[in-house]
């Protein structure tokens, strides 16, 4: 089959690789109908996630048709249409039973590698480095889905692929980011990053009852999307002083909760500030550039919540711990526990409360994945989200 393979920093290529086979009795094989490129893939593409190997198949947002099932899968049949969550979860360990699927205790065969780097190991993730399991991803014609009796959700009605595809990752991720904020009436929520994840964090904050949502980015077309589709107020951090604007917009209180939907490759309006962290990153003295995170913490109201759904990989410098501690902030973070949100969000899609397809700007063939990566990475051609058809 054809698959989009990681070759090294800044390089992906469509290669012919073997078709996947059932390896465990709870596996299924899915013929992929739609797959997407995620901001998380950019971190791999740009070489910020350790333990990648040349030839790794990328992609963790995919859906398709079940073409084979292992003999212990009783919930799926050949021919079922499914969306597959990006974290792999066994459904039977203490953590899965608590609903924290992205921290499954059994789905990462390379947990030892992750323990070395992170202390304890998170779940396995499709197409997301060897430290997170060494599982091939879904930017391919087929994928093996472990624990297929737990993760995939069947789509039984005729909702088009494009409306349900993002249940695999970014819709639940944005939703979890908003849920972390414990929104109560009157709350003002600020979201850093107007990428696909930020778009869904904004939309979800409104779904969960936020009074107002302020979104911060530097790309006008992304800010406009958040304004036009979800009704967010927008701040362009290259044109406005974010701190002053946030004070002004919240009567001096600061946002009740701040969501970081940017992650470790943040930019900074000031070239000097950017160069400082970029240089440290190049010298490997810090792995992550935490501009958005620092700003989210410093601007959050006293006693507020900082929700981190942007991905970080290693270490950050100048983390404003004093601000966090002295002002009684709560920090919540995580890879999304997608399985937890599939059913309720599918119901919201079906009920017409949200149509996630609004983020799609580019529809390409799987063979054009390398071009899709470049366009998405460089935010060219007003790119927000790239969907690929194998």
């Amino acid at each position: 089959m054809r698959a989009n393979c990681w070759l090294g920093r800044g390089e992906v290529e469509i290669q012919e690789v073997p078709d996947p086979k059932i390896l465990n009795s709870r596996d299924a094989i899915v013929r992929i109908s739609k797959t997407a490129i995620c901001g998380s893939d950019l971190h791999l593409f740009n070489g910020f996630v350790p333990t990648m190997m040349k030839g790794d198949v990328l992609g963790h947002e995919f859906m398709g048709e079940v073409v084979e099932v292992g003999h212990d899968v009783e919930t799926l049949r050949i021919g079922d249409r499914v969306v597959v969550p990006f974290p792999i979860a066994c459904g039977r360990c203490n953590t899965c039973l608590a609903g924290d699927f992205s921290l499954c205790e059994n789905s990462n065969p390379n947990a030892a590698l992750a323990e070395k780097i992170l202390g304890h190991a998170p779940a396995g993730i499709f197409g997301y480095s060897h430290m997170l399991g060494g599982f091939p991803g879904g930017q391919a014609e087929y994928a093996r889905v472990p624990f297929a009796d737990v993760g995939p959700i069947k789509i039984e009605d005729d909702l088009p692929d494009e409306r349900v595809l993002f249940l695999s990752d970014i819709l639940p991720t944005g939703y979890m980011g908003a849920e972390f904020c414990d929104i109560t009436p009157g709350d003002v929520i600020a979201v850093w990053g107007a990428g696909p994840v930020g778009q869904f964090a904004v939309a979800s904050a409104f779904l969960l009852g936020a009074e107002r949502v302020i979104v911060i980015d530097r790309f006008p077309y992304r800010l406009e999307m958040a304004r036009d589709n979800s009704g967010a107020q927008t701040l362009n951090y290259e044109e406005t002083d974010v701190r002053e604007a946030l004070l002004e917009l919240t009567g001096g209180r600061g946002p009740d909760a701040c969501i970081d939907a940017v992650g470790l490759e943040a930019h900074h309006a000031s070239p000097a500030a950017y160069s400082y962290d970029r240089a440290k990153q190049v010298a490997r003295l810090e792995t992550d550039r935490p501009f958005a995170l620092r700003e989210a913490i410093r601007n959050c109201k006293n006693g507020g919540i900082v929700s981190v759904i942007g991905v970080y990989g290693g270490f950050v410098d100048k983390f404003p711990m004093g601000s966090l501690m002295n002002r009684g902030l709560t920090l919540r973070a995580g890879q999304c526990h997608v399985q937890r949100y599939l059913r309720p969000l599918l119901d919201r899609i079906r009920g017409g409360e949200i149509d996630p397809s609004f983020v799609i700007t580019h529809r390409l063939n799987l063979d054009d994945a390398p071009e899709g990566f470049a366009t998405f990475k460089n935010k060219e051609d007003e790119c927000v989200k790239v969907v690929l058809t194998p």
């Binding site: 465990n24 190997m53 790794d56 198949v57 066994c90 197409g127 060494g134 093996r144």
Partner: protein, 317 residues
């Protein structure tokens, strides 16, 4: 999952907190040298006296630089800096062999030879310090004579009864203990065949010395076995509704004693890591029904501290 090497100071302190100035200094030395080897491999190859070729720069960067940095960070960050100090000793061995090769290659070039000999002398000095520091940390308490002890523990969401029963079936241990080739039980004693370090095969007979249903099994190799070893597994109810804690405690002969142990570790054959991997597979088996496999690790959790031995994350051909 946690591994506790026995005999180790329990306090979670780095070398500095323990007032171990030598360990601390070696830690900083590692960080400094590692950074230099990565950042300015050209300067390092020049100081040492070898060619400033792409290959030598690459060796400086990867084999030496990354290793020094890892050791430096490990010495400060790890709860058991002794492991990293022994890692440094292994690293010194690599440096010495590289330098020896250099000395041989440049034996007819006086300036280079002088630099290389100076570098070799320095590394020998550092090796001595490393051995002293490492012995202080793990030395006789971790590895007494030729016996080491390793422990590992995990929590499994099953009853002590289920876990006891599964473990008691010694003949089936190789399904999750990958270093075992086979175990055969015949009236009371069992014959074990295992993979030793570096491709060797070892065999022994073992007997059960304590057996408390749903609670504990202890075994040990019979007198006269070539490889002496003993093990205990305990099953304790975890607090709340969390299942059962499994604690494994092993004692084993180390072929080659302490240095053999350090070298085996470099190749990822550290026994405590093996037990941790065994327990991870045991947990998967008991909770999910199978050992979980990925294309990167097709046989399941194994030697996963290294990227070496991983397949690319692509379907298997």
């Amino acid at each position: 999952m946690r591994i506790l090497d026995d005999g180790q100071t329990r306090a979670n302190e780095g070398p500095a907190a323990r007032g171990d100035r030598l360990g601390t200094a070696l830690g900083w030395f590692s960080v400094g040298l590692g950074t230099a080897e990565i950042a300015t491999p050209g300067a390092i190859t020049r100081i040492v006296g070898v060619d400033n070729s792409a290959t030598n720069r690459l060796i400086s960067r990867t084999l030496c630089g990354a290793r020094e940095l890892a050791a430096g960070i490990g010495i400060f960050g790890d709860e058991r800096p002794g492991r990293w100090l022994w890692g440094r000793v292994g690293g010194d061995a690599i440096d010495l062999s590289l330098l020896t090769a250099g000395v041989y290659r440049h034996r007819h070039e006086p300036t280079r030879l002088a630099r290389l000999l100076f570098a070799t002398g320095s590394v020998i000095g550092v090796t001595v310090l490393d051995v002293i520091a490492a012995r202080r940390h793990v030395g006789p308490r971790h590895v007494s004579g030729h016996t080491a002890r390793a422990r590992a523990t995990t929590t499994v969401r099953r009853t002590p009864e289920d876990l006891y029963r599964r473990w008691h079936d010694f003949d089936a241990l190789p399904t999750f203990m990958y270093h075992l080739d086979s175990v055969h039980t015949t009236n009371g004693t069992s014959h074990w065949k295992a993979k030793g370090p570096a491709g060797t095969k070892i065999e022994w007979d073992a007997e059960i010395v304590d057996d408390r249903p749903d609670e504990l099994i202890a075994w040990r190799s019979v007198k006269g076995s070539k490889v002496h070893n003993a093990g205990t597994v305990r099953f304790l109810p975890a607090p709340g509704d969390r299942g059962t804690e499994v604690h494994v405690d092993l004692q084993y002969d180390i072929p080659g004693g302490t240095p053999g142990y350090a070298v085996a570790k470099l190749f990822g054959e550290e026994p405590s890591q093996q037990i941790t991997d065994d327990l991870r597979r045991f947990k998967q088996l008991m909770e999910t029904g199978e050992v979980v496999r990925s294309e990167g690790s097709p046989t399941g959790a194994r030697n996963a501290v290294h990227l070496l031995g991983q397949h690319p994350a692509q379907p298997l051909g």
